[in-house]
Symmetry: C2
């Protein structure tokens, strides 16, 4: 095979209690990419549509992630990459992760899969490092594996797939303000009270159990974050009202997507997720802030071939 055209899902990282460890993939928000083999041993980004992003390999997350793979591959050619960018950079739903993960997934596919999913996560993390100074895996893991993923450990890298309850839907609203991941990381405290940490890992346990049990109430009860949300939400105008609107409408839970500014809510069933999305949207219409709304099933498969 010489060329592949793929869908790269947007992802919600952190998911309230699961700061830096949990993430989930979305099924109808994502980038498209075309990756093809070329004879030269290099990565060439030939086209980016939809966003103004650098084409230079070493300045582009797909380029950097791809180079990490290429270095490890027994292959004397290279790849050409086209990106149709539908996820806005800086939105907090894994824009850089989609490009990084998509690039390495497609390249691996075109080489007949010499690398394991875990190796692909490691290559894609190089792209994340370029984007936010931190080689985190909580967006690239769900983009590559699909569904919910838990990054249990970084040293060694250990990623666990968590089952997805069938009726779970996500509503994500993206108020169009800019927050850099690196900035939103700087404002976090480096130490936290033991008491609060215990609450947090109780909720992580509850959320994982809720996902296995398909217990929607338990999922909702566990979507609490006493550590990061109280600090980061200050950077997101309308956060409290939007979260409250989602919960009042019947969402299971709501919080910051990634490092923001997007706000996610989980709901049981598509109809509820649509209603919740509209309630969240109404807040930003009231505030008068430009925004995008996505309502999506959970993506189970991860990156997929479109043609």
């Amino acid at each position: 095979m010489e060329e592949v055209h793929i869908y790269c899902p947007a992802t919600i990282a952190n998911i309230s209690c699961g700061f830096d460890v949990l993430g989930v993939a979305l099924d109808n928000v994502g980038d498209e990419m075309t990756v093809r083999r070329i004879p030269e041993r290099t990565i060439r980004i030939t086209r980016i549509e939809g966003q103004d992003l650098p084409l230079a390999t070493e300045q582009n997350v797909a380029g950097v992630a791809g180079m990490a793979l290429l270095k490890a591959a027994e292959y004397d050619g290279g790849f050409e990459v086209e990106i149709i960018k539908k996820i806005k950079p800086g939105s907090g739903i894994g824009s850089s992760a989609a490009s990084s993960a998509g690039a390495v997934w497609a390249m691996n596919h075109l080489l007949n899969s010499p690398f394991s999913p875990l190796q692909l996560v490691q290559f894609a993390m190089e792209g994340e490092k370029l984007a936010s100074d931190v080689a985190h895996a909580d967006n690239v893991a769900p983009a590559l594996f699909g569904g919910f993923t838990l990054v249990r450990s970084y040293h060694p890298l250990d990623i666990i797939s968590i089952p997805v309850p069938q009726e779970l839907f996500a509503s994500v609203i993206h108020p169009q303000i800019e927050i850099k991941t690196s900035d939103s990381r700087k404002i976090l405290k480096t130490t936290i009270p033991m008491e609060t940490a215990i609450q947090q890992w109780g909720n992580v346990g509850g959320l994982i159990a809720g996902l296995f049990l398909e217990d929607y109430d338990l999922i909702g009860r566990s979507l609490e974050d006493h550590i990061v949300e109280p600090i980061r939400s200050i950077l997101i105008p309308g956060f409290d009202r939007t979260k409250q609107a989602a919960l009042s409408e019947g969402a299971l839970g709501s919080g910051i997507s990634g490092s923001g500014p997007s706000i996610y809510a989980f709901s049981r069933g598509r109809a509820m997720a649509e209603k919740v999305g509209l309630a969240m949207k109404a807040i930003y219409e009231d505030i008068g802030l430009e925004h995008d709304l996505h309502v999506s099933p959970i993506n189970i498969q991860g990156i997929k071939i479109i043609r």
Copy 2:
């Protein structure tokens, strides 16, 4: 029914990563209790065998827990309690929890179960408060529910039952030194590094997932504690050697049981758990410290009627 005779399981709380939230019940280490209805509206502890513990109702955890239930019950009589104490107080395997939980479970049973399991946990927590100044639930919950339990939240109290992999066995060694729960709590830090907390909730997620998936390797990998064990283990002579001996022998993981001094290990299969137990025992024989060894299946049922 006028009288009931029950088995009250010993329990391992914390389970490495799950400080203050996780616990599990054991099937062949536990107290026995006889509880009978009496016409007077009071709790009377009439006999304690095996240990020298106070008979006065308000000084005995079973008495205090029982009084909490009695206050809430529409019943104009009371109860008489006999305890055959097989779990040594201060051993770190839920001695006070077994008595507290056993008392309220039996009383509820004799009144035709007017109270929910969650209410029983709350009554039993009053006994825990007497024993250690803190009304914790991580021993009484598994004693009452059986299997693994997660205390997701205290306010409101929310307890989740986690499935038990069939081949999981526990080895517990109790080196006979005294550590008071209240003392071992005082030495803990009240703030912890964010980085370490993230590792901890990654492991809690991994352990819960491992239990659902019956993935013994994942269970083992998740049995890490970077927060409490490094501090509390200093109080337990021979801890590092004993843990290492358990792991070298083939245990999935090992750590402090409750607030110590007991050390637990989980193994796959009874034969391995026996071998691991003997390896742990050999360390205390070498040190020359008196000790008890328990090798036990996981108790699934919680408290049970013997006759």
